[in-house]
Symmetry: D2
Subunit: 455 residues, 4 copies
């Protein structure tokens, strides 16, 4: 359960489908967990790019079937966005579609450029204007300004100037371009069904369309998709010393049914729970419970190693509705109680292991634990299936400032006291790094160890 | 996972709270799973009854905090409704508020009267008109026509004429009246926090308000709640031979964190899974998976007995949104894929036990199984944590007609073939009846055995 | 310009049209000026009555063409409602559809029953319940209770018990019933196009459908319309000494392009202006202006007699929008300025006659006059094309209580001072009564002379 | 009555008001007739510019009072937009707010740049991107690229490169900048109330705020408004040979209660009607009617000269509602009948002069005339209070292509036959040019004579 840690978006692109915008809609629907603020689709009809985006959930934004008539063409890209700022606004919704000297282009971006601000300042000095505060607009400016001949070269030229994390999709003149940053920080996968090719942040977007998952797009790989052709692949930038896929994709962001960075999320997440059990067992526990739904897999792994019963001790309410109003004051633990309820029949007089995927600020964990205690748990042993978060992220994860990260301010013992649990343990960094699948990839663990892949 | 079996409503009432309508809103929110078509609240301000009801989810219907200013008073009742008919209409939304010779009264009803239609015809013959097609209006007519002196007596007089299932709440002149039918078909629980008293279909509605669950309201029990007094309890009708609580509350309708008929849903549901494991084990299964979320508990019980790993092999998408549009044609298994996705990492080349809570028509189960098969499962053993449904319900559960119930038309072997599974087993009726908690209550199992408690 | 005087509704019914509900929608649209709070349509498909009603303007309530699929059948009635109470609520929206011993019936009512409350109390004593506070529900109860054999007789039986104003439409079993009260207080007209028959509060509802206006329905006349037959007409009640059509239909309520009570509104309204000019001329006026749009016709008549130029000295803003928010405090004359603006080019240094159709409270007139003064008018002579309103209405017009009627509290001289005009004159009651068309009808002028047609 | 001729927007700006965004809302409300597609406001709070814009009417876009909390500051600009393209989209809504090297700026534009496309192409060649298709974005680019030192100089530098029509407002760092193009094609007026200064397309926007109209902003005049200072005025561009205010502001676009180009619209429009009467009288006409509301003033002028009665022979329905659905097929003259109804009492057996402000395609006029004929008019003499439109507009008026302009394709005699009228006459160009007020201004009459002020 997270409050204070958010991924910023999901991207999806498809080529060769007779109902490209409809397929993109379903792809975005499957990626809804990556961003709930706005949703948008851009399609190319052979002449121009059509764009439709609104604030809201995918299912609501595209709730009128007539919208798809406004998005014709066999090629489309889409984007779900999570707001990182308090202000909810349509301005930064994506895809971002503009005209430039060669006509129309559109971009959908997952990630965060760390030099966007200085690039922007530089271009403003040269007389450019910016309509949004999104990094993607910086990239579009760079492409438009590139002196290179082809759009493909312009993209490479533009991205050679940026630093940071990106999985970027572009739509231009009948082709779909997809590229991951050289460190491979944000994920992107490739799928196929006959002559239809698709790219998506996670492979679960393919499943809903019965598109077959092919493989991960590689760090630094640049794919050009064109109808009637095999995808062309190239690696325009030098290979960095280390790859740096965001480990939080495995811990929390991605759906367990997805492949991300080429590995099954479910499997990795399970192994984290198992390793945690090995490192910090609670041998005489009566039950292991998860904070649903994000911690279910790790909790299962934990319970499995210790041969303890996995139980559904917390029930999550899924019917929150769009305009649910929360009390502004006074009601203790209210936020947690709106989302969860503890099950006394499971918890009463029991020694409980609660497995959560991570702790950010600790405020919601504390409320949850109080609910579990109120439901009668005799002992609560809190286990976190990832290491303590001690550093903020600069690559697209909306972490709070360092001072708000409980693990950067308190010792484990102090956190244990703050949470009012009987014991507390995190998965060790070493334990996490030891997971075979993760070793094969090359991951960024800056939030745990402060080592940033991009200077 | 159900398509074709629905409970019709949730009711909530509260007395003595300074923010009675707000509390009712939260109570209804926790009962949202019992009905998503409409939500409504009626409150009494000392003089008259105010009513607000609309089509939609609780959080959306009451999305504007100003609404609560329109619902003043320290006593309120509320209602969530599930539409049993195709037509979505506000006419039948509850609470139903009317004036009669003594002033204002309002009712919220969970259940179904089997003689409503004949009572209605009789009253129409005498010149009455009906504005809705809801059973509750029949009851309000009967109360208004009663010659008895007090409102309490009028209720008893009215209900002495009806047959069927009801958990009914009434608001009248500063008192909250709550009554269950003598057979106790639909549930109702009593809660308390200091001077505040509340009644609700399930106890989870108390938890969100930190109201303490007291006990079930008994079959046939008539509670009168009045500010500053202890609830008065009476049993105005003769005790029937058998109680007949709806067993489907334990199988599917209620949230696992609730107490229903005085028993923890979670516990009973678990025992069903355990008994199923004893009756129909799959000894060499690689994993047990549930159809989330309703079958999770039973699947856990099943896995637990057989010491097999419980796995999250199906992922449920919870972001469907209000206006999600579905394809009208052609896409195979689409409905299932919108709600669920199978996790290949868990299923591939595995011998899988799938536990579902029940099968109604079988159409969705078939789609789900196909998804699991497509994800690579080697063998699929389908286990149903309740007996075959062979009869329709007349007490408020929206079952399809008998001919649509797959188990009334096909043998187990035929169902197995239809579902394309490697083996199929249901929990035996006897096995279910043997669960200790259920033996203590007295339940209606007409859907399984055709024996109806009310003639 | 009126604030504080409102007609309560418009009714429309049609029979024999293949798109009866669509036609009713357009008819209601043309009658929108008679009520803007809610709109509704009920149609009969040969078996049952379908009803759709919502708060809002006709064009918004029926803004989705799919709605008409929910309203099948060749016969329909519709209703626009103006809220007479502050609370905006759907409960009292019409048509009111109920079931009774003979099946489905629906009613749409324009008018006000003066003994509704006592009838209601009587029926409540006998055990009836009421779901709305509308008079129509009383009538439906009376019909349902009637022992007469046919629906036609039941209507007559029911209406024999009520006193007051009504133009009532009923839908029952393939027939459309229309009846006006014996005094003929509220209007109703009959139209025809081939085999299609229609009734409407005003004939402008026929024009939009190219239905030909036939004649007024007579006071006390009871029409039964049935497909394939000529309308049957009867007069079930004794003829009263005097007819009493509401004179305000000619002064303000009806559209000038309508026939009402068999006379062209435009013509009568014009004659009021002319008579006013004869009675209270301003011989050296520079211009005559109206308070648009309701006073335009009378002002033209006034200007015409005096051979003075009619000018557009006030401009009305028609784009108010549904949710226009008004300042809650402080801004002087704001309400008037939102609706009107004065034209300095016409008014500056001029001696102006302002013709208004009536004065209720006088507050808005005062604000308007101040605007005209601010725009530079040298002299303002206020002329009112109807007599002083001294009594409240009990037949469906939402007049304020007597104490709020400026003419019941102040002398003409005092009103002149309050309004800050250079002179003030009303049309005399005698002058109004002298208009030939009005003499032919028999009108209620109780608001001017306190003589009520129904005791 | 116009279908096919539209002005594109209204602009409003205010400085020095404690409720600048609220005032802008009311100003836009008064300018609603200039554009109904979208409305927007940008305000400057001392640090940054806040922008809120949506599709819809002003009253609906700003229907929630909380919006004004999102628009703080004492200085604001606003914009109403009329869509010139079929596609309704938020992309081009204004004000357009961007960041550039000096920080935030925002613009609101009424007009049309004829070299926008080539400027845009040039900037695209240099690597610029465009997020909208609006001319304003071109201007903002030019400002951002300007090497001049001050914002004021940058504006002048930028506008020195553009050709066409503009009344432009800019918000930048605490100042409000307002400038009209040198030919003065689109209007702009200056108002004041104490220390508050305002600019608006028409003076009616001042009246609603009780701001006093000061004067027209002159062609080519550049006003800089700053709190606590008098407006600074300059004329940065050479004076052209002729001024060229759009004559259609007087014929149709502006509200009659406004001052535009320093003259009262009402007065000019009246004189057009008078001149038309002198040129093309119908001596034995029974009545003169207008096509409401836009032709009322001209019709009055016409009737006045001929001493014929002005009558309200057509009634306009003002309650159309946001989502009014029109029949897609088949119903003859439907569009006209939804908006207008003819009054038989006035028209029957009469010789009628119908005065309209202009004819574009002629299709709606034809429908209206048929309605008047159906209402019984014996003779219909159509008089148009402006000359035949023979050329399209390039300065911001949405005229159809030349081939669709009936007067460019048919002779007067042919138009008369097409419209099925007994006689037809237009105001002569010479007659219009002879109106004293118009002679004083310098106007563009390109739509009548094909002489364009800007090459």
């Amino acid at each position: 359960m997270r409050s204070g840690l958010h991924e910023e978006c999901g991207v999806f692109g498809i080529l060769g489908s007779d109902k490209a915008s409809w397929d993109t809609y379903l792809g975005l629907y499957a990626l809804q967990h990556r961003g709930q603020e706005s949703a948008g689709i851009a399609s190319f009809d052979g002449k121009k790019i059509h764009t439709y985006k609104r604030l809201g959930l995918v299912g609501d934004v595209f709730g009128d079937p007539d919208i798809f008539d406004l998005l014709p063409g066999k090629i489309a890209i889409g984007h779900n966005r999570y707001s990182t700022t308090g202000a909810t606004t349509i301005t930064n919704a994506q895809p971002l579609t503009v005209t430039f000297k060669e006509g129309w282009m559109s971009a959908a971006h997952n990630g965060n450029l760390i030099n966007a601000s200085s690039l922007r300042k530089g271009m403003e000095s040269d007389g450019s204007i910016f309509s949004t505060t999104s990094d993607s607009e910086v990239v579009l400016h760079l492409i438009a300004k590139s002196q290179k001949a082809t759009f493909e070269e312009k993209i490479v030229d533009a991205l050679s100037k940026v630093k940071g994390a990106y999985s970027l999709l572009f739509l231009y003149d009948g082709k779909l371009y997809a590229i991951r940053d050289p460190h491979g920080i944000r994920p992107l996968s490739l799928g196929r069904k006959g002559d239809i090719w698709a790219v998506a942040s996670e492979s679960c977007a393919f499943d809903i369309l019965e598109i077959e998952y092919q493989r991960t797009v590689m760090p630094g790989e640049f794919l050009v998709l064109e109808e009637g052709k095999q995808p062309s692949s190239s690696f325009p930038f030098p290979k960095p010393k280390h790859y740096a896929g965001c480990v939080f994709e495995y811990i929390y962001f991605s759906r367990p049914d997805s492949f991300v960075f080429g590995k099954a999320v479910d499997l990795v997440r399970r192994k984290m729970g198992r390793q945690l059990a090995r490192e910090a067992p609670v041998h005489d526990a009566d039950a292991v419970i998860a904070v649903p739904d994000s911690s279910n897999t790790a909790a299962l792994g934990y319970a499995n190693i210790l041969k303890k019963p996995f139980e559904l001790g917390l029930i999550r309410n899924h019917y929150i509705g769009r305009t649910f109003i929360k009390p502004v004051q006074g009601e203790r633990d209210f936020g947690a109680r709106i989302k969860y309820n503890a099950v006394p029949g499971i918890l009463k007089n029991k020694k409980i292991v609660v497995v959560d995927d991570s702790i950010v600020r600790g405020t919601t964990s504390r409320k949850l634990i109080r609910m579990i205690r109120d439901a009668g748990a005799k002992e609560i042993h809190f286990r976190v299936a990832s290491p303590p978060i001690i550093s903020s992220c600069f690559y697209g994860v909306d972490t709070p400032r360092r001072e708000k990260l409980i693990a950067s301010q308190k010792s484990i013992e102090q956190i244990k006291e703050y949470l009012e649990v009987d014991s507390l343990a995190y998965l060790s960094l070493k334990g996490m790094q030891g997971i075979e699948e993760l070793r094969e990839i090359g991951l960024c663990m800056a939030c745990f160890n402060g080592i940033y892949p991009v200077e």
